[in-house]
Amino acid sequence: MKVKYFAWVRERIGLAEEDITLPPEVDTAHDLILHLKARGEGYAEAFARDGFIRVAADHTHITHDVSIRSAREVAIFPPMTGG
């Protein structure tokens, strides 16, 4: 699965995108964030306030309780500040 990061999530992780092979226990967006948090300091810092983080699956906003297993692309980013 392709995972993309934006704004300060991208900066803290140090990557704009990466391919992740989901372990079987990762089902929801929340599970994915917990899984990534364990990968290192940058991830832990990016997701320190994880309730604050937004997730999109295949270009559509989702809440953290939604399954991401069937998504081709997941993006994780801070609250948006466009307009």
Partner: protein, 162 residues
């Protein structure tokens, strides 16, 4: 212009040119527009840098415009958004809607702006006077409040599982 139009621009946004894109239908009596500009914030800023999520930005703005189309009788609606470096005084976003009557045109443009602020995947970072790259702009709770004013008719909100 067709039913609706979305553009993400790397270069200068010319509002007058985009305004002309809303070609009035013979029964268009009202065109409302909104132009959002980069503010100096009391002389503190030189520019804003806009990052966006290509693909999703167009898709999400498209969903917002489609929702506006379902909710109000519009002849056309468009939204244009900058990415990259936008200097103080330069346009960031332009929204225009045409309808028979003014209330529909005003409401549609305001609705689109309120949803754009909270749901379109763009992030702003400050560039301070003197050229120093500053902080990422924090999302404001007043933008969630503005968006919520439309949700008494939440069945019409852009479709998403959030």
């Amino acid at each position: 212009m067709g039913r609706y139009h979305v553009s993400i621009l790397e270069d200068a946004l010319e509002p007058a040119a985009w305004m002309a894109e809303i070609t009035p239908n013979p029964d268009t009596g009202a065109i409302a527009t909104f132009l959002g500009l980069c503010r100096a914030e009391g002389g503190r800023l030189e520019a804003l840098e806009l990052e966006h999520y290509p693909g999703m930005a167009e898709a999400e703005i498209g969903r917002i415009l489609e929702t506006a189309h379902r909710r109000w009788p519009l002849f056309g609606i468009l939204a244009v958004h900058r990415t990259g470096l936008v200097k103080v005084g330069e346009p960031i976003v332009f929204v225009a809607a045409g309808s028979t009557h003014r209330d529909a045109a005003f409401d549609a443009v305001r609705f689109v702006m309120d949803y754009l602020k909270t749901d379109a995947p763009f992030w702003k970072r400050e560039h301070l006077k003197g050229g120093v790259v500053g902080e990422w702009v924090e999302a404001q709770s007043k933008d969630d409040t503005a968006r919520a004013r439309w949700s008494d008719r939440a069945q019409d909100a852009p479709q998403s599982t959030s």
